[in-house]
């Protein structure tokens, strides 16, 4: 990563594109605290979140998915979502160990919420299944459901359409638009599938070799010479 500046407005749906190895995932890792930047700052909702631990950043309202799906593989679909709800656990450790009525009340509440998220993503029938046994497309959806369950104000999607067929991609596009509207959040998206990026993003940054080489509306990006060169190779047919 050489030099990098970008900003995201409230409620915006922003795309980040660039060839493989251009440093896109690194950007995500910097934002979510997995890596620490050597220089520079990351400001989120007016607060400097540079160098904070990933879990604190999540608690501030940033959630993400991963390029290579990272579900909690060996446990149930429902548990995957319930884990994301843990940061607002409605009962304390003492109530847990003593199994007070408050604990059961809290569990009911958690289960209800978790099932709501599953329902949105059409996964409620799979609640009891082991996450890794789901087909690929459903694993992708579960990962988004899990991220949303942390109640983010910014959702970061790392190649959500990777490994999906055009039909699934189209469904995903609708889903992303719908989530943004219904949950009222901002979305930052890395994607290779240009139809998805061009289809849903309002503004796009193009990254190559660790630098932003272009920024603008999808239409502008599509016609930008430097983008075509970097992304498609030189001789555009």
């Amino acid at each position: 990563m050489l030099d990098f500046n970008f900003h995201l407005e409230d409620g915006e749906l922003l795309g980040l594109i660039g060839p493989n190895g251009a440093g896109k995932t690194t950007v995500f890792n910097l934002i979510t605290g997995v890596y620490k930047p050597d220089e520079g700052n990351i400001i989120f909702s007016g607060r400097d979140i540079t160098g904070l631990a990933p879990y604190t950043i999540c608690q501030q309202g940033i959630a993400r998915t991963f390029q290579n799906i990272r579900l909690f593989k060996d446990i149930s679909v429902l548990d995957n979502v319930r884990i994301a709800l843990h940061k607002d656990a409605p009962y304390g450790l003492l109530k847990t160990l003593l199994r007070t009525p408050g604990f059961f009340q809290g569990e009911i509440e958690i289960n209800k919420k978790a099932r709501e998220y599953l329902q949105i993503f059409n996964l409620e029938d799979k609640a009891g299944e082991i996450a890794s046994s789901l087909p690929y497309g459903e694993q992708r959806r579960l990962e988004i459901a899990r991220a949303l369950a942390t109640k983010p104000t910014l959702l970061i999607l790392d190649e959500p359409a990777a490994g999906m067929n055009p039909n699934e991609t189209r469904e995903l596009m609708d889903l992303i638009r719908w989530i943004r509207k219904d949950f009222g959040l901002s979305i930052l998206l890395i994607e290779h599938d240009m139809s998805l990026v061009m289809g849903v993003c309002e503004r796009i940054y193009v990254l190559d070799y660790g630098q932003v080489i272009a920024e603008g509306l999808p239409e502008e990006i599509r016609r930008n010479k430097r983008v075509i060169e970097a992304y498609l190779g030189e001789e555009v047919g």
């Binding site: 060839p19 046994s133 990777a162 139809s195 061009m198 599509r222 030189e234």
Partner: protein, 234 residues
């Protein structure tokens, strides 16, 4: 030369390749293009024997190689430049190249091939005592290609050689690929940089979620609306 016949490959529960077929003619450059996660690397790994087939066959020069142990494949004349270069980082450049010729016994032939690689990549010659991990990305890619050449392959599988390289270097790498092919090595090239790949290939396949959705000559594909759509989102 190479014929992939309806192969099914699984990663655990995930059906990664669904009855995929493709063909590579002797002396040609064939490219396989498609998005991340579509199954390009999986295809190459299946040919190299690193992944086992559930169904189908892989024919190389007329015989089925899908049951051959992975370490024997290179001996048959297929070598691979893996994705992300995968050079042996704490071994020197020279040692890396020697590993490429691991199965060969002809000392003289190895010597001359080493000279050839060094003529082709003078920068590797300069750095032959350096450990591979200290090389730049472009140099590592050259080393990975050189290493694969040391096996004196008839068919070379290349997995995203342009990944993470600056545009100028990408051009250089593609020139090299063309040159290797011109000297008689057949090439199966997996790329995300579609136009670049199509510009040097004879034939091309487009892969989507483990299936070939489009095939034809490179020219046909360059002018195809569908390819443009997939890569330009138009």
């Amino acid at each position: 030369m190479l014929e992939v016949k309806g192969i099914d490959v699984y990663y655990g529960a995930i059906h990664a390749l669904k009855g995929l077929s493709l063909e590579v003619e002797e002396g040609s450059i064939v490219t396989l293009i498609g998005a991340n996660g579509a199954g390009k690397t999986t295809t190459l790994k299946s040919i190299s024997g690193l992944l086992r087939l559930r169904n189908g066959a892989i024919m190389f020069k007329g015989s089925d190689i899908s049951k051959v142990a992975p370490e024997k494949i290179v001996g048959l004349g297929i070598s691979q430049v893996p994705e992300g270069r995968r050079v042996f980082s704490t071994m020197t450049v020279l040692e890396n190249l020697e590993m490429g010729a691991y199965l060969r016994k002809d000392k003289k032939g190895i010597e001359s091939d080493l000279e050839n690689v060094f003529t082709r990549f003078p920068r590797l010659k300069e750095r032959r005592k350096q450990t591979a991990g200290t090389l730049s990305g472009g140099e590592q890619q050259m080393l990975a290609i050189g290493r694969a050449l040391m096996a004196r392959p008839e068919l070379m599988l290349m997995d995203e050689p342009s990944m993470g390289l600056a545009p100028l270097l990408v051009k250089e790498i593609f020139e090299i690929i063309k040159d290797i092919n011109a000297r008689g090595t057949t090439i199966l090239l997996v790329e995300q940089n579609a136009n670049m790949a199509l510009s040097i290939a004879n034939r091309a396949y487009v892969i989507e979620t483990g299936e070939i959705v489009l095939e034809g000559t490179a020219e046909q594909l360059i002018n195809s609306e569908e390819v443009k759509k997939a890569y330009l989102g138009g």
